[in-house]
């Protein structure tokens, strides 16, 4: 090497240093305090106990998984050295074992070493009997977790797993410390209040004080793996109030730096943002607001067989009716009144990640009232004396239910208007969400029972792999008395062809093939009009203009990169 190249190297090094200036010059704790508001306050810091989004996200400031999803949905190693794949030998060829390598020198916030034992313990903790671990599904099919040395974890599944990133990946399945939680397994899980409120973690922050449903005070983790981070010495996560108050505190008064989940009317948000103290952060995951079509007859006269496959729906079993209902909807208007920048039109129930998104159904994007009328005429549904269409004595009169929520009630009212226009009578109903989404088999008002013709709600899936999500519409997933009305197949959709695709996906490992299968399933559901997608919903949060480094993420916790946040100077 001559002097010239050596000099060049130095110059380039200096330039690179300048580019990274905010991060490079900042020291741990140099930027003081960061104020975060979660208007639904976290009840606990342990995501294994709660399952709620607010707990997962706030917990993610302290607890970390082996790998997270970044803002594009790609996996990035956090505690692991790298993400194991079949190509790099981390996943065995038969797709049954995964070998994770931990980064070297990782420490818990109390100064002790993080070892593979902690990872193994996390699995034992969540699957222990009687604990009611909220994330136990993430550990499905895991038969053993081995720890040949301090840095190696070998996860073995009982069945081939084409997507083996359930355990220890994402905000839902972080690693907890064995030493702290050793006596908290099984039924003792709930009684370990001290541990659950202040878990020892590897993340950028440490819990100083936790007040349930109120406020969490945190300070920088002295043993965080990057000695420069986090830039903030202390952090507060405040809860309480409502979304409007939270938005105001960031966008209008500037008291807070980051406000989570601002599901407010688009014009209200725009007014707040116009004050110039902060900006909205929007990102899209997989959440789709949809209408489920009931393929079975919810007539109360049927007694125990009400809303079961024994009785097909009197008119919704006609595809023309389902299609006409979908055609009559102006999805763009729905987005405009309900979500603004936080929503887009979708014609798919599986809208993302990009490789899974189908374009075969995009015809739904434009409203076609006349087409819908013509379709119904053609199918023999003709307007009766009262203007409501009927055929063989069956009237197109339907009950359309959803949970109580201002935006949903607006949607109901406007959709009802369009359907009236095409000669369909609509009765609206809204049910308190704690009942509607509660799984009480004794209640007639749950979304699983579906004692209505149509119902509207939103759903998504964790992470980026749609296999489990698409399996929701298998025949056997239909809620019915034999399953105590549990199951995710609300439309009671049942097609052998669809079930075959589900089975095939479960044994297909190659990504492009999986994408094809998922798309095919989505298209089947869409072209059968079993589900009428309405809006592809994003998450909206607000960040102060003085807060830097925020990368909004819908695939993992929103606070996933809080270690990189800093104060704009």
């Amino acid at each position: 090497m001559n002097i010239k190249t050596a000099l060049k190297g130095t110059v380039w090094g200096a330039v690179a240093g300048l580019a990274l200036a905010p991060a490079a010059f900042a020291e741990r704790g140099a930027d003081g305090h960061v104020n975060i508001i979660y208007w639904q306050a976290p009840s606990t810091m342990n995501p294994y106990l709660s399952g709620g989004t607010k707990e997962l996200e706030v917990g993610s400031l302290v607890l970390e998984p082996l790998a997270r999803y970044d803002e594009t949905g790609a996996m990035v190693p956090f505690l692991a050295e790298s993400v194991p794949t079949v190509e790099n030998g981390g996943v065995s060829a038969d797709l049954t074992t995964v070998t994770w390598k931990l980064k070297e020198g990782l420490k818990w916030s109390d100064g002790s070493d993080l070892t593979s034992e902690d990872v193994k313990f996390t699995w034992e903790y969540c699957t222990s009997e009687g604990g009611g671990c909220a994330q136990s599904e993430k550990y499905n099919d895991v038969v053993s977790v081995e720890t040949p040395d301090d840095l190696t974890v070998i996860v073995t599944f009982g069945v081939p797993k084409p997507f083996p990133y359930g355990p220890f990946v994402g905000a839902q399945a972080p690693i907890i410390q064995k030493a702290q939680f050793a006596n908290c397994t099984g039924e003792a899980m709930a009684s370990c209040t001290e541990q659950n409120f202040a878990p020892i973690g590897t993340g950028p922050f440490v819990v100083d004080e936790f007040k349930t449903n109120d406020v969490v005070s945190m300070s920088a983790n002295p043993n965080y793996r990057d000695p420069m981070k986090p830039a903030f010495a202390t952090a507060t996560v405040k809860g309480g109030g409502d979304a409007a108050a939270a938005g105001r505190s960031v966008l209008e008064t500037g008291e807070f730096d980051y406000a989570w989940n601002l599901q407010l009317a688009p014009d209200v948000l725009a007014d707040m943002e116009a004050k110039g103290k902060g900006h909205l952060e929007v990102s899209f995951g997989t959440l789709v607001e949809r209408i489920m079509v009931n393929f079975t007859d919810p007539n109360p006269a049927l007694g125990d067989e009400r809303a079961t496959a024994a009785h097909p729906h009197p008119f919704l079993s006609d595809i023309n009716v389902r299609k006409a209902l979908s055609m009559a909807i102006d999805r763009e208007l729905l987005v405009e009144i309900g979500y603004g920048a936080a929503g887009t039109v979708t014609c798919n129930v599986l809208p993302a990640p990009a490789i899974y998104a189908s374009t075969a159904n995009d015809g739904c994007m434009t409203q076609d009232i006349e087409g819908a009328k013509a379709l119904l005429d053609e199918a023999g549904w003709v307007p009766g004396a009262d203007g409501i269409r009927e055929k063989d004595g069956v009237k197109l009169s339907l009950l359309y239910q959803t949970s109580t929520n201002a935006v949903r009630q607006d949607f109901q009212a406007i959709i009802k208007q369009w359907w009236n226009e095409i000669g369909v009578e609509v009765e609206l109903r809204n049910i308190d969400s704690s009942v509607f989404f509660g799984g009480d088999a004794g209640s007639p008002d749950t979304f699983q029972k579906f004692y209505a013709d149509l119902e509207m709600y939103a759903n998504n899936f964790d992470g980026t792999d749609p296999e489990a999500y698409m399996a929701n519409w298998e025949c056997k997933q239909a809620p019915r008395p034999e399953t105590q009305w549990q199951g995710n197949n609300m439309p009671r959709y049942c097609s052998e062809e669809y079930d075959a695709l589900v089975a095939e996906m479960a044994k297909t490992g190659e990504l492009n093939k999986r994408a094809e299968l998922a798309k095919a399933m989505n298209d089947m559901l869409m072209q059968d009009y079993a589900i009428i997608p309405l809006v592809y919903r994003g998450r909206v949060s607000a960040a102060s203009n003085t807060l830097g480094g925020v990368v909004m993420n819908s695939w993992d916790s929103e606070l996933w990169n809080a270690a990189d946040w800093y104060r704009e100077k």
């Binding site: 409502d242 108050a245 209008e252 704690s434 998504n460």
Partner: protein, 335 residues
């Protein structure tokens, strides 16, 4: 009097037991599922396991007896342990919240300070302001002072706190920037500047609640004073040559206080109930906010415990009001 008090206390025991049963059954019959707020991505089998872990699999009467045992035996033991450092409650199951899986009473204790500060202080202010306003308004009926007092109390009565609260926030936090719109429950008053900050953050919620409470009490006070001012004994007192000061403040006021004392005493349990709406608006996160979030989350043990504590306080303050009658008016004696 003592005899009466003891008898009343004994009668209240079956009353309270009955109330606790009614609350429990109402909560049990009410629809709602503590798992409803968990994302749909968590499968139903897992939710079922979680429900079992919460003890929801047990039959109703077992759950009720459990709660009774926990409330009347375990929790007092915990309190005794806490004060004297003993170990009576060791290893015993306390009342656990469904949301946080932490002992309900610990959360109550955590929430008590901000509720007492904000709601309690506003109640004291309201009483201190309302009683003199009521007296002067009645004594100078239809004067400009009375008209103004009536006008302000009508405003206090008719404008709901969710409106006046947000209005204050918009004016004093957003536009003027004088006060914080969000209450900081972690603030500890250690020196002059933190005290000032505490005053600042309490200013708006206390004002909203004071206006609301003062409106009610001042109207009662005024009406009661007016009733008494025209009584014969007032004329007699004046005829005896007593000064107006003595007539109004000794004779009339004492007699007029009887109905007002009831209103004030029965309002005290509401302090502990917190101010649900005002606490939400200003994020005070006291007992009221805790109750409403527990209701939303179908957190039965927490709702049950809180409502029962309110029931106890209401019964207790009813008794206190009755005893105060006897002190204010010697003719009312219960023995």
């Amino acid at each position: 009097m003592l005899h009466y008090t003891i008898r009343r206390l004994l009668i209240s025991i079956p009353t309270l037991l009955f109330i606790s049963l009614v609350i429990f059954l109402l909560l049990d019959l009410a629809p709602g599922d503590p798992m409803a707020s968990i994302p749909l991505t968590v499968p139903p089998e897992v939710k079922e396991k979680m429900r079992e872990a919460l003890g929801l699999g047990e039959p109703v009467h077992i759950r009720f007896l459990n709660w009774m045992y926990q409330f009347f035996v375990v929790e007092p033991q915990v309190l005794i342990d806490h004060i004297f450092g003993t170990g009576f409650a060791e290893g015993k199951q306390r009342i656990i919240s469904f949301q946080s899986r932490s002992p309900v009473m610990a959360v109550v204790a955590e929430r008590m300070p901000q509720t007492l500060w904000v709601v309690g202080l506003s109640y004291i202010f309201a009483t201190l302001i309302a009683v003199p306003i009521g007296i002067v308004s009645a004594y100078r009926q239809y004067s400009w002072f009375d008209q103004l007092g009536t006008f302000i109390s009508m405003i206090g009565f008719s404008i709901p706190t969710f409106f006046s609260g947000v209005l204050l926030i918009v004016v004093f936090s957003v536009i003027l920037g004088w006060f914080p719109s969000i209450y900081d429950t972690t603030l500890e008053v250690t020196d002059w500047s933190s005290f000032l900050q505490q005053v600042k953050q309490m200013a708006m919620p206390v004002f909203v609640l004071t206006l609301y409470n003062a409106a009610q009490v001042s109207r009662f006070m005024r009406a009661s004073m007016l009733d008494n001012l025209n009584q014969d004994y007032v004329r007699t007192a004046r005829a005896k040559g007593m000064s107006e000061r003595v007539v109004v403040l000794m004779h009339v006021l004492r007699n007029s206080m009887i109905p007002v004392v009831t209103v004030i005493a029965l309002g005290v349990p509401n302090i502990f109930g917190g101010a649900i709406i005002t606490e939400q608006v200003f994020q005070v996160n006291g007992l009221g906010q805790m109750l409403i979030t527990a209701i939303y989350a179908s957190d039965a043990p927490m709702v049950q415990t809180l409502t029962f504590i309110f029931a106890v306080l209401i019964v207790l303050f009813n008794l206190i009001a009755d005893i105060l009658y006897g002190i204010l008016d010697p003719r009312i004696r219960y023995d």
